[in-house]
Amino acid sequence: MTLGQTQLKRLEQYKDRWTSYGANMGILELSEKPTPQVLKQFEIFKDYDEKFLEKISPDISLALWRSGTVLFEEGSYIDLAFFIVSGTVEVYLQKQQVAAPIFARGRTQVFSGREEASSGTPARGEGTMYRPIEPKRGGKEITFLASMDFDLPTGTTLRLSAGDILGEIGALNGWPQSATAKTTSTCQLVQIRTAALRLMRKRSAGLKARLDKLYKERTLISQLRATPFFRGINDSFIQALAQKVELVSCEPGEVITTEGAPADAVYLVRSGFIKLSQRLAEGNIVVSYLPKGSLFGEAEVLLDGNAAWLFTASSQEYSELVKLAREDFRSVLAEQPDVEALLWEAVAARIKEAGYSKRNISQSEFIARALDNGLVEGNSILVIDLDVCTRCDDCVRGCADTHGGIPRFVREGNKIGNFLVARACYHCEDPVCLIGCPTGAIRRTDVGDVVAISDPLCIGCGSCANNCPYDAIIMHETGELWPPDMIPEGLRGKEKVLASKCDLCYTDPAGPACVRSCPHGCAMRIGDVQEFKSLLWKEAG
């Protein structure tokens, strides 16, 4: 029998469709929401009472996986950890991977050529409306954490068996998986979603210690080695240090340090955002924020005679930190006297910024709004200068025309100053929309930080749209029905709905259609919050 073009295409799609986590093709048996009695049989749940297990059970499933099934792939985002009950899983690297700093320049370059990046604020009318995505942090950042969750040399394989946990570091930190995991025998796995894992870790000191130990063994040492601050330090020192550090997990809003309280440590932010605030009159104002890869507490250590926190630091979202005791930090400085000069620069910049925020309350308001609205996450934010915009909607029309009649953004959103932050994908640094996509349809492309959806792989489950905190993903009806051979079977014959979002027109060398189509030059792509801030300040004169 000869297959038609359409059938061949579908077969090709099916081949790729289920390689990411969520495929039920590799699952022989699946039991969701197990009872506390069932959970109690597994060692990982033995510390918890039945009431607690009942509470977290909706986020847990038991699955029997066929041998040779890929659980997750390198670079994929998953929102669960696997606990192996029986069977073996091998973990390996498919690509050459090193513990590169998170903010490596090469990863964030996009659209080279036509309009080269210029420094400072883009000046309208000078051909700089659209800038290539720039790395968010400057070259003087001295603290980088790598996104490795398995410290594996390329070409080697790690075999995990009953009692082991995998996937938890990526899931808890929102990082992409750095290795591929594949079952090598029929495996019974307990699948624990991130929300349940966080609660379990909070409730049980034993589990926290175990996860921390795994993190230290699998990741931390390689991360510290790749961190410029520790780069010149010998291995034995790093290994000793890795054992001494404390791993801190924070919930949204959790206060980490309080201004004026005794300062006893230095923190490295490994995921999330930390908000720094200071007292002003009767209240607190936000003076700065710290993204992953930042260090804080160094000012308190470096400033002689100061033993109190200069800032109140609180977690903006779920954050993971590495806590380094004051004495340990000092010992690192003693080993690396050159680093101190760089640290002083960072301290001076932060204190200067804090002072400026206190004198200019609008700067503080802007930082707070940037944090609340997620602008700090963005690598490419679509902003529209409302002072110039004639509301002609050509930006939306241009987007729709380029994408088969369906616009990928809405000209609505938050207003900051005279700028509208349109509801378009920010192409986040940590794209939570990628988490839990059952087919891997939504992914980070090879072009810069662009996050795009592959229509042939999308099954319209809405997982990405639900995950996106900024409502930047639109579910649209296509007016068609899913074909009779559709997988999953449940969709067959139902109305075909697809997710769509801005992909920055990354395949078009001319750049994003929204910016290109704006007749007044008021639609711009902003690479980061600093750029937005300078734009606002320029407007304000």
Binding site: D387, T390, R516, P519, H520
Partner: protein, 278 residues
């Protein structure tokens, strides 16, 4: 005054200084040429320099008209829209001036020529009116309004506000219900464009919202918060009205310019054919 005529910085008024400079230079060159021509000869629209001005004007006007076609081909990489708009503005204006050079600043004769001339003047003036509106209204909208809305969605947003208000009022005490019925309900029925917003984008809103103040004084604390919410809904609705009124001008203006532009281009073609034929 700021609410009526917000100060527009020169950078926002003239968005492409390069285009402005190039146009001024071109205008200077053509004006000098015309002055020399007019000094020594009588400018004849059908011959020599007079005819040349006419040809250049026609080319510029057709070039300016191509912007309409570009707006229907966003998916093609035809350069940035902004560049097309600049050509539309400066090229179109220069074209209009060259029409005057073409006719030697004399009034046309014959019905057809009068129509052609009249349309060219109308299109140019309506173009300038549009330009003025496009520079003035966006700034007016941002100077005094806190909400931003897509014009086409305003009726839907008003309906949502009304539903929210009515749900809230249902749980309120009698004085609020009465006040809502007499002072608020009618305003929430549909978008209400009003001319006042052209004169003062915020003034009308402030005074209408002030109606709530007296009632607030006599209400118990728990009812006050409900009244505050109704007030916010009312205020938002009035701001949407301002958007509706002002954005409508930005859209309706196009009807005075675009359809007749096509007529003008057709008549120019006819004019060229007639001159060539006869």
């Amino acid at each position: 005054m700021k609410r009526f005529l917000p100060l527009i910085p020169l950078s926002k008024l003239v968005r492409s200084p390069e285009w402005a400079k190039a146009s001024i230079i071109a205008l200077g060159v053509f004006s000098t040429m015309y002055a020399i021509n007019a000094l020594f000869f009588e400018v004849n629209p059908g011959k020599g320099w007079g005819l040349t001005y006419g040809w250049v004007a026609a080319v510029l006007m057709f070039g300016a008209g191509l912007y309409a076609a570009r707006r229907r081909m966003f998916h093609r990489d035809l350069g940035r829209s902004k560049v097309w708009v600049q050509f539309h503005l400066y090229g179109g204006t220069l074209g209009a001036v060259l029409v005057l050079f073409h006719t030697g600043f004399s009034l046309p004769n014959g019905v057809f020529n009068w129509l052609l001339w009249g349309l060219a003047v109308w299109i140019t003036l309506s173009g300038f009116l549009g330009l003025a509106l496009q520079r003035w209204i966006p700034r007016l909208l941002t100077s005094g309004l806190s909400v931003e809305a897509v014009y086409e969605r305003i009726p839907e947003l008003v309906q949502q506000l009304r539903e929210r208000a009515e749900k809230l009022v249902a749980s309120c005490a009698a004085p609020i219900k009465d006040f809502y019925r007499s002072h608020v309900a009618a305003a929430l029925v549909a978008p209400q464009p009003r001319l006042i917003y052209y004169l003062d984008v915020t003034g009308g809103i402030q005074s209408r919202v002030r109606q709530f103040d007296f009632l607030r004084r006599v209400l118990p604390t728990e009812e006050k918060s409900k009244l505050d919410e109704i007030q916010l809904i009312f205020r938002t609705k009035l701001e949407l009205d301002a958007h509706y009124s002002l954005q409508r001008a930005l859209r309706w203006w196009l009807y005075t310019h675009v359809p007749l532009s096509f007529v003008l281009l057709l008549m120019i073609l006819l004019h060229i054919w007639a001159v060539w034929y006869y």
